[in-house]
């Protein structure tokens, strides 16, 4: 079931067009990887799909409604955003950060109720980091911090989660942990869209990929059909090959 669909999007800032005629669909229970070299407008596309930037043309439909007609609160109940794990300016505890995911369910003058804390804690529990609840977000590891941001998205109870390079600047162990979490969440029925600079991650966890190249070249489809050596070489401007190991893994490297 398609939960998010972009139709002939033109993206950009103000009067500056970045890419045009982008169409994309994301289904519940799947992981979609967004790939592309630096500077082609991946972030712009990401922000447009999230409703943080208005589409210059075309539209994004979420559950049948045009994103442009929804309030921020309505969007937040349908789409959650996991930023690259960063240090917050103020040293919030993990539970305080995660419970902020409940904001879209609170009244204008409201603050979190016990049920919101329960949901936040359940989200931490699901990711196996409930014991970090009272720790300061600035004093846990990068991988734990990334999981905390994912927990916040889960507390938001939206069916679509966008993740901006969730494995960037993580060590190998944490990278594996985060990717496994992403896969599990998709199995739970969530639609996940994540941007990454690692084509191998797409092979590992994605059902579909969306590849944005220079000059608005935009290809979407099944991972193995789209991510061929030719496409990747053209995309990143260096000769690349894709090899399949005996165990069924895909390895991308230079030729």
């Amino acid at each position: 079931m398609t939960v998010l669909a972009a139709h002939h999007l033109t993206i950009g800032y103000g009067d500056k067009m970045v890419a045009s005629d982008l169409s994309l669909g994301c289904a519940a229970g799947t992981v979609t990887c967004l790939l592309g070299p630096n500077g082609v407008g991946k972030t712009t596309l990401f922000k447009t799909l999230l409703g943080l930037l208005p589409a210059l043309d075309g539209n994004v439909a979420v559950g049948g409604d045009d994103l442009a007609t929804l309030t921020r609160r309505e969007i937040a109940r349908r789409i959650a955003y996991v930023p690259q794990a960063h240090l917050t300016e103020f040293a919030y505890t993990v539970i305080d950060l995660v419970v902020m995911g409940r904001t879209a369910y609170l009244g204008a003058f409201g603050k979190p109720r016990p049920i919101d804390y329960d949901k936040a804690l359940a989200a931490l529990d699901m990711l196996g980091i409930a014991d970090l609840a009272e720790r300061e977000i600035t004093r846990i590891s990068g991988g734990q911090r990334q999981l905390a941001f994912i927990a916040r998205a889960l507390a938001q109870e939206s069916r679509i989660i966008f993740m901006d390079e969730p494995t960037a600047s993580l060590d190998l162990g944490n990278r594996v942990r985060v990717l496994r979490t992403v896969r599990t969440l998709a199995q739970e029925g969530l639609a996940i869209v994540l941007s990454t600079h690692e084509p191998e991650h797409a092979f590992e966890i994605a059902d579909r990929v969306a590849v944005l190249g220079h000059g608005s070249r935009f290809v979407t489809g099944e991972v193995q059909a789209v991510l061929t050596a030719d496409v990747l070489s053209g995309l990143y401007g260096v000769p690349l090959c894709v090899e399949r190991t005996p165990s069924g893994r895909h390895v991308v490297g230079s030729t």
Partner: protein
Amino acid sequence: MKRPPLRTATVFGALTLAVAVLMLIAATIGPYRVPPLTVLKALGERLAGAGGHGAVETVLFNIRLPRIVAAALVGAALAAAGAAYQSLFRNPLVSPDILGVSTGAGLGAVTGILLGMPVMMIQLFGFAGGLAIVSMVMALSRALRSSGDILVLVLAGIVVGALAGAGISLVKVLADPYDQLPAITFWLLGSLAGVKAGDVMATLPAVAVGVAPLILLRWRIGVLSLGDDEARALGIEVARLRVIVIAGATLATASVVAISGVIGWVGLMVPHMARLMVGPRFDRQLPAAILIGAAFMIVVDTLARSAAAIEIPLGVLTAIIGGPMFVWLLAHSRRIAAP
């Protein structure tokens, strides 16, 4: 699960009690000594609608209490505005001066003094000056960059604040050096020496209108500290909330600057003290900052009027206390901000 309401409630109870006790102590201090019990008795009689009109009552109700309440009001308003600006700008080193509010209010007020206006008009001028500067800052930042870039906003605040500062210097040059200039200088350093009950009553509603939205929206203002994109993705109409916070904090600042003159440091330092006590969550930090700000200014103003033979300007005292304390906070606290 464990939530810390007990600890937070204890802190708030203790702070409220501290403000009340400090008010009582401050009321006893001065050239005319009034013992604590006499203060309480006079207060009780006044509240019951009775009471005499002797020297004690005159000193308490016409001079000392209006000044004490004004000090509490000034401290609370500056601290609330500072805490709100820090969350809004995601920067623990920001204070109400950042948007040129204080300087703008200063320019308005000294212009009023130069024109020989009555006190009420001087306050109105100060208030209008503060609001005018903030409107200019916001218009300028909007013209330079479309969607409220924080850095552009802060830089616009510095530019417009510098212009207002130049305006103040010009007014000082033009002012009568024997009559107006001392008044202007003293006012720019901050003082509550001339405050009357009527001034407090006139300022109270403006401060309340400014601080109320900050208190009501405190949870959302805290979420705003995560940054625009994250706050919006969490369901907050960022542009609208930002306008409300800036308008409220500015109104609170400009209204107290109009009765107290320019007092620095409070809006910067007190929010840090609050964060040390109750943690960084804005919904807990704001009420703590309001109470600490009130207590702090009561102490400072009592020192200002009783520590020396002459009135010490408040701005001088807050700088002397605030500077070292801020350095200490920076050195000893890891909870102020991310390490």
